[in-house]
């Protein structure tokens, strides 16, 4: 069998964060792959909500792709923002939210808006979309992203979506949910300390050295004495990912 790719470890780790019967708000990309994988394995009763107003899509011929009506095939409900982001997410019945990030800092604050170049010039990217809403309101937030030093700074250049701003309690800021709980990268899985709200190392992907992760993380991070290995995807998970969920390598490639 072909060697296991980092993206496959990432989506399998993401899938394992989900419990059967949970309600999840998910965006396109690796998070969506992780959710579909969970639903096809241990969590068949997972409810997947897309912020645009799609509940439990069942795509047949193009399982994963861009925001195309083909992907939303056989959804059980089509509604809109007020339903998904309001009457589900805002009401507090969404267990898990998945997000990506341009930058995420040690307190789990996310930037998807702009970066400051060394010259001081601002470089704009895209903004929050529904990211801030998921970060503010979901029960647990899981971030999936590439592990690069510049993407993991001590403090984000712009706080698009809140984790634990200033290391403060979310409740004091009027936020709901437990906030960011995991950062799943192509090298490791990070968690957050319940007391300090700072990111800590939970596991290293097989073959990744601790030093590599430390050097590629922009903030100082608590590391356990012995770091466990992130579990590899099972053969069945790999088969599902490669043959059925993303055979064209739209996201896993």
């Amino acid at each position: 069998m072909e060697a296991v790719r980092a993206t496959e470890i990432m989506v399998a780790a993401g899938a394992r964060e989900l419990r059967d019967g949970q309600t999840v708000v998910v965006g396109l990309g690796l998070p969506q792959v992780a959710c579909v994988l969970a639903r096809r394995t241990h969590a068949p009763a997972l409810s997947l909500l897309l912020e645009i107003g799609v509940t439990n899509m069942n795509p047949v011929d193009t399982p994963i792709g861009l925001a195309d009506s083909r992907i939303f095939y056989r959804a059980t409900c089509w509604s809109g923002f007020l339903d998904i982001l309001g009457m589900n997410l805002h009401r507090g019945v969404v267990d898990v939210g998945f997000l990506g990030a341009l930058e995420i800092d040690r307190f789990g604050n996310i930037n998807t808006t702009l970066l400051k170049e060394d010259s001081g010039k601002l470089r704009y990217f895209n903004g929050s979309a529904g990211g801030n809403d998921v970060a503010s309101l979901a029960g647990r937030v899981i971030v999936i992203m590439r592990h690069e030093k510049r993407k993991l700074p001590t403090a984000v250049a712009h706080l698009t979506s809140p984790g634990f701003p200033g290391g403060r309690s979310r409740k004091d800021l009027g936020l709901r949910g437990e906030g960011p709980q995991r950062i799943i990268t192509d090298k490791a899985v990070l968690g957050f300390d319940r007391g300090t709200h700072q990111a800590t190392l939970l596991s290293l992907h097989p073959g990744v050295e601790l030093q590599d992760v430390i050097e590629n993380t922009g903030f100082r991070m608590e590391t356990p004495k012995t770091v466990p290995a992130t579990p590899l995807p099972t053969p069945e998970e790999l088969r599902l990912l490669r043959e059925e969920i993303d055979p064209k390598n739209v996201y896993l490639g």
Binding site: F81, L82, H90, S128
Partner: protein
């Protein structure tokens, strides 16, 4: 406000834009995110060289980027601006980073705060409360958001100021000549934006008899009495998808990304696909019959019939 009774409002897209999108107004569009974006209407706005518009919409994909690049916009009120498939939108970045072709003001939202802002206007209230966005940079970059202490509970909450667009442009699958519009698929913030606006322009794939609309009234997302103008424009949302009519033209978003990296390249693109083109019909001819046909829905999936009898 002019009374919009049960009268025919069918007109050309050119006339609809000319009458209801004067310079300086705020325009909401692209309210269903990646689906059903009124590109034909946006291109008509560019052709008529509208100025000083405020664009309102959650993300709009590349439509806002095109209108910004054409110099028609002075402000964007949005949760996200870019090319969903490719990431950055170059005209947006040139405008906001370097003031090219003109300076652009931006009011940052999240998808939910912009939906709430439109919902507030649709309800006729000045603001709505929310828990979202606490502690984020949003509050410093958008004067329409403020922290306040909630009555009754004393909680710290965010207040989202109502947004009432001068005109909302909604893409629909079908509508009758009175503007009653059937829309299906993901609706995003469309129903709220239509009810929040002073005027609504409906751009429909096809105009049908009123009895078709009345046969399935639950599918009427925009009732005609709210509508000021209705235009029939087949493939009016291309390259975005319209459920039941055509799929997303992914290649178009890739091409646009490649063809707009520099200002000069964008000007060529704009001439080739917008200003040098008379209307959507000519745009589709330029796109080519094969490509247009390849996007059409072929594997139909009809809904079950619903009995509205008595």
């Amino acid at each position: 406000m002019a009374k919009k009774s049960q009268t025919e409002k069918l007109c050309s897209l050119e006339e609809a834009i000319s009458r209801f999108v004067p310079d300086g107004v705020s325009v909401a569009m692209g309210l269903q995110l990646e689906s059903m974006i009124p590109f034909a209407a946006g291109h008509e706005i560019i052709r008529q060289d509208k100025r000083d518009l405020t664009l309102i919409g959650p993300i709009s994909d590349i439509l806002f980027d095109q209108i910004i690049g054409a110099g028609c916009a002075k402000k964007v009120v949005a949760a996200w601006v870019g090319n969903v498939m490719m990431g950055s939108a170059y005209n947006f970045r040139r405008a906001i980073e370097d003031g090219i072709p003109r300076c652009l003001e931006i009011a940052d939202h999240t998808n939910f705060t912009i939906a709430l802002a439109l919902h507030a206007a649709a309800l006729g209230v000045p603001f709505l409360p929310t828990y979202t966005a606490g502690g984020s940079s949003l509050f410093s970059r958008n004067h329409g958001l403020a922290e306040f202490e909630a009555p009754f509970t004393g909680e710290k909450m965010g207040a989202v100021r109502a947004i009432s667009p001068d005109v909302t442009i909604v893409q629909a699958q079908r509508a009758d000549a009175f503007g009653n519009a059937h829309v299906w698929g993901n609706l995003g913030a469309s129903p709220d934006a239509a009810r929040a606006a002073k005027h609504v322009i409906v751009v429909a794939e096809e105009i049908v008899e009123p009895k078709v609309i009345a046969s399935d009234p639950n599918r009427t997302v925009i009732p005609g009495f709210l509508v000021s103008a209705i235009a029939e424009v087949p493939f009016g949302a291309h390259p975005s998808p319209v459920q039941g009519f055509y799929n997303r033209d992914n290649e178009c978003y890739r091409e646009y990304h490649k063809a707009t990296k520099t200002r000069q390249e964008f000007e060529t693109w704009l001439h080739d696909w917008v200003t040098g083109v008379k209307d959507r019909k000519e745009f589709l001819q330029r796109l080519g019959e094969d490509r247009v046909n390849s996007l059409k829905v072929r594997k139909h999936a009809w809904s079950a019939r619903a009995d509205f009898g008595n």
